[in-house]
Amino acid sequence: MKIKEKTSRVVIKTVVALLVAVYVLFPFFLVVINSCKTTNDITANPIGLNGVSISNLITNLSDVINNTHFMFWSAFGCSVIITVLSLVLLALLGAMAAWVICRNKTKWSVVIYFTFIASMIIPFQVVMLPLISTFRDVGKFIGISMLQSIPGIIFAYLGFGGAMTVFILNGFIKGIPMELEEAASIDGCSPEQTFFIVILPLLKPVITTVTILNGMWIWNDYLLPSMMLGQNGVVKTLPVAVQAFVGSYVKQWNLILAAALLAIVPILILFFIAQKQIMEGMIEGAVKG
């Protein structure tokens, strides 16, 4: 027996769902239309379509892109490089570490595992101040700047993202039968070959999950890059650039919203391409984490 719902109820639900969708998407709509206006048109009517034109959009965008505080292309490039390299390294080094921790049930592997888990509750605020001074001192000591440099911030993301990455990967590796590795080792595989040839390809789905989780966090992160890179440095990520740009202007909303548009569009494109994977990855990460 199938429960048939009354049509009136379905209609009501659809209307509610649509209203919520309108409410949720309205801010995006406002960003788009208002970055196509001049400041005067925005103050006159921020909701209407009066004064919306492509030429305004182009003027606003080019003003923002060429702004010395924003420097869109440089910020975008830095964000991409930092995010991509951090993600690749986190996935690879995280998988290596998780595999070792999972497959060696010794005292130290348990200690390391629980240290990782316990560290996930540490708020960034506790470590950020000594982190900056440590990085400054280390940078001075070895003569390679760790602050205001891309390698430095990638190194920091490795440290902060490591715990969750290992935790999620560890849960997955537990489910891979040990016989697989034993068979490989009988066939003459060394441990490192076993990992790279047998285990790593099997981790593909869970690596997708951690990459999405870490990617969302690193791409949108503001506090860590703003502390490490500074507001006015050469190396800037997109959120830092947006903050620096807005801080330097007195409420020129057409430009601020154009900057917001530039920051939003790349991630929206990514979402439209990989919507299913992103949503599933976020769920899995939450349920396991």
Partner: protein
């Protein structure tokens, strides 16, 4: 050891020794400060890599697995130790001194911790944060759960609705903070002017600004929590619901007696997520109000940062006011509160889950 060729032995030992020598040279240059060429960092890094290559080819069968274990663990553990463990230990230590971000002059004991409780602004921030957390746990979960119910019923275009509700979660707090600042101060004011003849932005008054932050936070976060509830609701078997409806249960009864008890673990996860993320809220707070909002009288003083939550208070203390040790002490307290509250929450939920 007989099965290893002499070349392998020599190259392994050679690499390890060369690596150690390179690292020692780098260290010597760094400590003696005679590095005119600026190559000490490179020497250390190359030395480390060369040493690892030598270690990898170390002629042993028995310990090879151990060497691989070490080499696989080392990079991540090293980064973790340098970025999390060492700063954490240093930070706790610094909170008992007068550290100014560069050097320490005196050890002051508990002075920082005592001082923060004499600061009305800080106590206000703690209260506001707690209020924010409580409101968020209730409202985000409620909204998300209702959206999840909506998105698991038979509607057309469910995929679109789910994606649409989730969309705000993709955007960073800074960017959406500014978008909403625009909405509150330019769009909402148009309506309030027409309706109540009030030209003031919601964000200019503490109470309404606080509500504003909550609205933005629900807008950003409810879609994500909704996805987790949907996954939970989908695990409730259809035949149980069918059986209950045959027994004459109303949809409301089904909801409260079957669906909610059966997704208790999901509720735990979602409560935990909303709790910790609301506690750590920083980006939206910074971009939307930057903490501003006047409080005419609290503990006998006038406050200007009425919507400043803990994370922002710590940031302002250390980075804006340059009181590093004081900010660090506040951060340590923040850590203790967060750890305590999350442990209590997990314990309580576990007990409830068993009872249900």
């Amino acid at each position: 050891m007989g099965e290893f060729s002499a070349t392998r032995k020599i190259s392994s030992f050679g690499c390890m020794i060369a690596g150690i020598v390179l690292m020692l040279m780098g260290l010597y240059l760094a400590i003696s400060k005679t590095d005119a060429l600026g190559i000490r960092g490179m020497l250390l890094i190359i030395g480390c890599v060369v040493f690892f290559v030598g270690l990898y080819f170390f002629p042993t069968l028995k310990h090879h697995r151990g060497i691989i274990n070490f080499m696989f663990l080392f990079p991540l553990l090293f980064a973790f130790a340098v970025t999390v463990i060492i700063p954490l230990i240093l930070g706790v230590g610094y909170s008992f001194t007068d550290w100014d971000g560069i050097r320490i002059r005196n050890v002051v004991g508990l002075e920082n911790y005592i001082r923060m409780f004499k600061q009305p602004q800080f106590i206000w921030s703690i209260l506001v944060t707690f209020l924010f957390v409580v409101f968020n746990i209730i409202l985000v979960n409620l909204v998300a759960f209702m959206l999840a119910l909506l998105c698991t019923s038979r509607l057309k275009g469910l995929g679109f609705f789910r994606a649409a509700y989730f969309l705000p979660n993709l955007i960073g707090g800074i960017v959406l903070g500014y978008i909403w600042q625009f909405i509150f101060s330019n769009v909402v004011t148009k309506f309030t002017t027409a309706l109540f003849d009030s030209r003031y932005s919601m964000l200019s008054e503490t109470r309404t600004a606080f509500i504003g932050i909550i609205i933005v936070y629900i807008w950003q976060y409810a879609g994500y929590i909704m996805l987790i509830y949907i996954t939970g609701l989908n695990t409730v078997p259809g035949d149980v619901i069918e059986a209950s409806s045959i027994d004459g249960a109303t949809p409301i009864q089904t909801l409260f007696q079957i669906k909610i008890p059966m997704i208790a673990p999901t509720i735990t996860i979602c409560t935990f997520l909303t709790l910790t993320s609301a506690f750590k809220q920083f980006d939206v707070n910074l971009a939307l109000t930057n903490g501003t909002g006047s409080v005419s009288s609290f503990l006998g003083s006038y406050l200007t940062k009425g919507t400043q939550m803990l994370a922002l208070n710590i940031y302002d203390t250390a980075v804006i006011n340059n009181e590093y040790a004081f900010g660090e002490a506040k951060a340590v307290l923040f850590f203790i509160i967060l750890a305590f509250v999350s442990i209590v929450q997990v314990r309580m939920s576990n007990k409830k889950e068993v009872e249900l």
